[in-house]
Amino acid sequence: MSATEVPTVRSWRDRLRGVPWQQLTPLLGLVLLIVVGSLIHPSFLTPTNIFNVLTRSAFIGIISVGATFVIISGGIDLSVGSMAAFLAGAMILFMNALQGGGIAPVGIVLLGVGLVLVSGLVAGAANGVAITRGRIEAFIVTLGTLGIFRSLVTYLANGGTISLNFELRNVYRPVFYGHFLGVPIPVWVFAAVALIGALVLHRTRFGRYVRAIGSNAEVARYAAIRVERVRTLTYVIQGLCVAIAVVLYVPRLGSASGSTGILWELEAIAAVIIGGTALKGGSGHVWGTVVGAVMLSLIGNVLNLTTAISEYLNGAVQGLIIIGAVFLQRGRQGR
């Protein structure tokens, strides 16, 4: 500010000021966690541990990519956890039913995957249509479907557990446990979903419309954007993302029950918010969500590796980080 300041100093400061700190906060949080983790335990930075963390973050991560679209458009989807459980249960029952009918096990798994993807699209579309055509708040609709899906999977499982036929499980297993070029399959899928999600959100008309609607839906409508269609599509994308997560989840345990996917909706929303997306919509980015999802599973990992804090406090630490992230967002907006 003072007149005696040397020009080079100012340009250095300007360059610092030019950095989008606001967007980088989640990344800085991630770096901090990694530093803490590597100080706590020598095996933290080994490829095995890193891939382990990434694989575990894949389910929530993939679902939160979908949630990013929903939340940026100004909506919310509370049903993702129960939807995942229901889709998993339905998929297993469907595949078990086909078993022994003359179709090769690989074919059965492929049919199962197809069924899950289509069902995810339909379930998402049902949420979306009820919200936009039915003009009911997203919170209410998805709170309702949360209950419905949860109850349906419990009903399908008859209160117990639905288990995948043993022979099919062997065929399907590599989808979760396999590697490609040394990297676990779920990590590849997570990366692909995130990349495609980012491309759609940041580089297509649809993505721009999603942000415009979240920013001000009236402005979007007056700009000849078909707001209801775009909104519905965000829930369809969310449903598809849940389905992809289920495709990876079923081979992990080979079973589903009434307690599958419990609280996934909160973790997904948390990942999106930690990643810098505004809960009221309008702005946000997919890579932030990816960082958020990885952070959530890193917290668990770090707590596992240390004895200083009980791993049972995982939820408490996550909660503090979510509140802290939103607090930082507020502070930056100068309120």
Partner: protein, 513 residues
């Protein structure tokens, strides 16, 4: 001379960071006068008013009250001294009653309990003294804007106001409400209150003010007795050049110009009844009427923004627009009257705002950011958007520049019928003139223009024909010699009515309402 001034500022300056928005302005207000501050958007009149009323501390210069130097730490101190600013966005609590609002924070009380009787009595005395019929026990959210404004004034008067500062008070008022406000202002002046009055509307300044201070680019051009200047002379001093050519030369549309848009028997339930009108290529059809006459609603119905019945033809072909996207495909565009609520994504960059309505031009299938940037720079050029850095968010622009961005955004869809709804509301004279000349350019390109406006000079200055609406009904279509303010007002207020729509269909305009 100095002794009679209640409040004065000497060489007041205000800077925000490196930018000086008010530069060494001398101004004073005397008891019993209305002193108007006028200037284009960004001329510094609101900033000056905020310095005088304690909302902003001057960067340099001196404030004096009754001849003694004063410094207000905040607006509360200024109010305690009798200086009250009434904001454009009124500052009332919607869910409290009129009397609760007036005495908010200093309720008459006995033994620690609010004395409702005393409150009511004091409120009634106040409102009676102001000769307004605002119901004291009604919640503020149920009041009209003008009534709410009366409450603000009552609140100010109850604090023994000596200087009342009003920022664009008539922007949201109808003609009749403005007259009521002016009566009130005159009564306050007669009681010795000094009034500082910021306005865009020079005709009003002429009508109500005693003296006027004209600002341009943060400096004072001069303080004049209002009787010395005509509104045109004020405008000329505001913009620093002659405004005799405020409106472009009117050229009649070509003899064989085809009908671009025909609306027949259009109704919007509860708001518009059986409206019919048409506009030709190269023609401006003015749509006049009082606020609430259903003008905006009529065209929102046409464009599929609200449910409507009736028939609409574009270039002779019957169309059925269920959504603005349908109208866009048929090259019809609408410029909203609500720039901030429906026209701009205020927090988003200009680039995304400009291309929003025609994004398909830039997405093949991925949005080409460079082409978008080029389109923005083009628009900044073509529409003369004045902004230091095109990377800013839309909210950083002044009203006039925002309006240019909204215009540019609409024009990217390449429409051949444009419906402009209050296109110059709340923007300065210079920008208004630019918009008028842009309309002339559109006409030369064969575009048909519908101009919805509450400013009669603008309607008369641009329109070839004018339809007038009253209570949801088109009461007249005027052209040629009939185009004058008195005739339009006669149709707008219902004194004259050529409508074939029967009274009983209009929802009982005269029947026991």
């Amino acid at each position: 001379m100095a002794a009679q001034e209640v409040l004065s500022g000497a060489r007041l300056s205000k800077s925000f960071g490196p930018i000086e928005v008010v530069h060494a302005v001398d101004v004073d207000v005397r008891p019993g006068e209305v002193h108007a501050l006028v200037g284009e958007n960004g001329a510094g009149k609101s900033t000056l008013m905020k310095m005088l009323s304690g909302y902003l501390a001057p960067s340099s210069g001196e404030l004096r009250m009754d001849g003694r130097p004063v410094a207000f730490r905040d607006s509360n101190e200024a109010e305690a001294a009798g200086i009250v600013l009434i904001h454009q966005e009124l500052n009332l609590v919607p869910h409290l009653t009129v009397e609760e609002n007036i005495f908010l924070g200093r309720e008459p009380h006995r033994f620690g309990i609010v004395d409702q009787r005393a409150t009511r009595r004091a409120t009634r005395e106040l409102l009676d003294a102001l000769k307004t019929d605002v119901p004291a026990t009604r919640q503020v959210r149920e009041l009209s804007v003008s009534q709410a404004q009366m409450v603000e004034i009552a609140k100010a008067v109850s604090r023994e106001v000596r200087v009342l500062c009003m920022d664009e008070p008539t922007d949201v008022l109808t003609g009749r409400e403005t007259a009521v406000l002016f009566d009130l202002v005159r009564r306050l002046v007669a009681d010795g209150v000094a009034i500082l009055y910021v306005s865009h509307k020079l005709e009003e300044v002429k009508a109500i003010a005693d003296r006027v201070t004209i600002l341009r680019d943060g400096t004072k051009i001069g303080t004049y007795d209002v009787s010395e200047l005509t509104p045109v002379e004020m405008a000329r001093r505001m913009v620093g050049r002659d405004l005799a050519d405020m409106y472009p030369v009117k050229r009649a549309p070509a003899e064989d110009a085809s009908l671009a848009l025909e609306i027949e028997d259009l109704s919007v339930p509860g708001l518009v009844t059986g409206a019919s009108l048409s506009v030709r290529r190269g023609e401006v059809l003015g749509v006049a009427g009082l606020i609430g006459a259903g003008r905006t609603e009529l065209f929102e119905g046409v464009l599929g923004l609200r449910p409507a019945t009736g028939s609409v033809r574009k270039d002779g072909r019957l169309v059925d627009w269920r959504h603005p996207a349908d109208a866009k495909r048929d090259k019809v565009a609408y410029l909203t009257e609500d720039r901030k609520g429906k026209g701009l994504l205020l927090n988003d960059p200009l680039r995304e705002n400009v291309t929003l309505q025609a994004l398909e031009l830039f997405a093949k299938p991925f949005v080409d950011l460079r082409a978008e940037q080029a389109a923005l720079e083009n628009a900044v050029d073509e529409f003369d958007v004045r902004v230091a850095d095109v990377g800013v968010a839309a909210k950083a622009l002044s009203g006039g520049n925002q309006q240019k961005v909204v215009l540019a955004k609409m024009m990217l869809t390449d429409p051949d019928v444009v419906i402009l709804d209050e296109p110059t509301r709340g923007i300065d004279v210079g920008t208004k003139r630019q918009i008028y000349f842009y309309v002339a350019e559109l006409l030369a390109r064969g575009v048909a223009v519908v101009l919805i406006s509450s400013e009669l000079p603008e309607v008369l200055g641009l329109s070839h024909r004018v339809v007038v609406m009253q209570r949801g009904v088109v009461t007249g279509t005027l052209a040629g010699d009939d185009l004058d303010e008195e005739t339009i007002m006669a149709y707008a207020t219902g004194l004259r009515n050529d409508s074939h729509v029967a009274e009983w269909e209009t929802g009982g305009a005269h029947v026991g309402h």
